[in-house]
Amino acid sequence: MRVGLVCPYNWDVPGGVQYHVRDLAGTLRGMGHEVDVLTPAEQEESLPAGATWAGRAIPIPYNGSMASWQFGVLSAARTRRWLREGHFDVVHVHEPAPPSVALLVCMIADGPIVATFHAASVRSKWLAAWGPVVRPWLERIAGRIAVSDFARRLQVEHLGGDAVVIPNGVQVAAFAAGPRLPAAEHDGPTVGFLGRYDEPRKGLPVLLEAMRTVVRELPGARLLVAGRGDPDELRALVGPDLEPAVVLLGELAEDEKAAFLRTVDVYCAPNLMGESFGVVLVEAMAAGAPVVAADLDAFARVLADGTAGVLVRRGDATALARVLVDLLGDPDRRAELTAAGRERARDFDWATLAAQVVAVYETVVPAGGGEVTAHGADEDPLPVEPVPTRTEGFLPRWLRRS
């Protein structure tokens, strides 16, 4: 089957959706399907083989995280060319609601479209207002997938329409075995944190507060922070009293991330809100790290209601400290959690999930076949739908961007 995958976020910026698309593409290719990815990127050269550049997306802060904006004549032309030259049996867009290249594909493509919805923030006034605007184009999606129940609920509430749930996958084998990370080796007990540490919703301040107690009880304990962010801001947040116990590893490459998760004694996800799924928890479980996570609904589900990891009330530094101290001092309990986590991680292996995605493709592709085409100005003398171009005309010139 020829599949066109569309990623709306800059490919060379790390992010959950990008990894999802990359891994899905890789797994599908491994199953013998032909895959091409259309994605924006800051640097065109950063794209691997099998990916087509769609220009640059402009990141905009949204809902405590980053969304991206890309909507213009040039992007539309690139999208149209990609659709015409790809001869896809199905195109699979990701996060199509925001004004991005994914929405452009929904506007331009003519044929079976599958969409995956990732976001899961429940109170989104923006989406409530925006939903009806993009409805005419989202309506063309033949099969909708949500990565979690929460993403599905958001989709049902604001965009109208149901979705089947196929969770995010992880390349379990790549995390399960491999070297440890030398930079994260330490004689005392270690707690790992991974993520954009200057984003408040990731909850690092709660973990730092808890670490004050942990270090008092277990003087050799270290918190290892990996991820992107402003180091000075982190230093100010840590404060002089805690500074010796916090190690900033900075941004890690993918293989380093797996090595990091294999090295830490406990992986902690103190997030406060807004997590759709929590791939990193599955990765930690696959790597054999015992997981301590905030009791967000999504995390509770990934951890099988606390049987595959420990859930702590979100924002509760005292409870988190108690759990961490107990766990760091109890190797048997950690081994139990490691075993349970590895077992649970297998449910999220990409090989399992990609087969389900292919079943979705097969359901929406008409029995006789017929490839996806593009409709639009340059070949149709009489466009049936004048509106895509008209919408672009609504944008002020300064907003148009390749």
Binding site: P112, P136, E139, R140, A142, G143, R144, A146, S148, D149, R152, G160, G161, D162, A163, V164, V165, I166, P167, R301, V302, A304, D347, F348, T352, L353, Q356, A359, V360, E362, T363, V364, P366, A367, V384, E385, P386, V387
Partner: protein
């Protein structure tokens, strides 16, 4: 004044053309989704029929007959109620003892769940647009019947998510 009326008329016309295109597209989507759903249901019925024929003695005459009867009923529903017939077949298939419930049968059941959700999704979108004040006032597609939802219990919580999709 005349200009204003003209502008309003042109906008109205553009909107009507756009909405008609949406309705036409949705109609196609409902048709294709229904074909997919029928295909999935047919495949499930075929597999169930094969089990009823090939494993009659393992099942016992009573259950084999019930299954064969349900398959026949699903193919040609008496009283024309396809949903009831498919429900009965689905229940019997799910109640099959483990060694007889081949992986293909589980897979077929799961695909029925997918196809049914995509079909109902298309129906929901169509009904939502048809019932909006605009299309109703202009009577766009008003003579065509509203597509109907296809509601069966496919026993698949998994498709609407309890963590990973276990093929029930």
């Amino acid at each position: 004044m005349l200009l204003a009326v003209g502008v309003v008329l042109v906008l109205l016309l553009a909107w009507a053309v756009f909405t008609l295109a949406r309705l036409r597209r949705l109609e196609g989507r409902v048709d294709r989704a229904w074909e997919a759903l029928e295909g999935a249901l047919t495949r499930r019925a075929e597999l169930a029929d094969a089990v009823a024929r090939e494993h009659a003695e393992d099942l016992g005459a009573l259950r084999a007959d019930a299954l064969a009867g349900a398959v026949a009923d699903a193919r040609r529903p008496s009283g024309g109620d396809r949903e009831v017939a498919e429900n009965a077949l689905g229940r019997l298939v799910r109640e099959l003892p483990d060694p007889l419930r081949a992986p293909e049968l589980d897979d077929a059941g799961w695909r029925v769940g997918l196809a049914r959700r995509f079909y109902n999704d298309a129906v929901r979108d169509t009904r939502a647009l048809r019932r909006r004040p605009g299309p109703r006032t202009l009577r766009l597609h008003a003579r065509r019947p509203l597509p109907r939802f296809f509601d069966i219990d496919d026993g698949l919580d998994a498709v609407v998510g309890t963590g990973p999709v276990g093929r029930a």
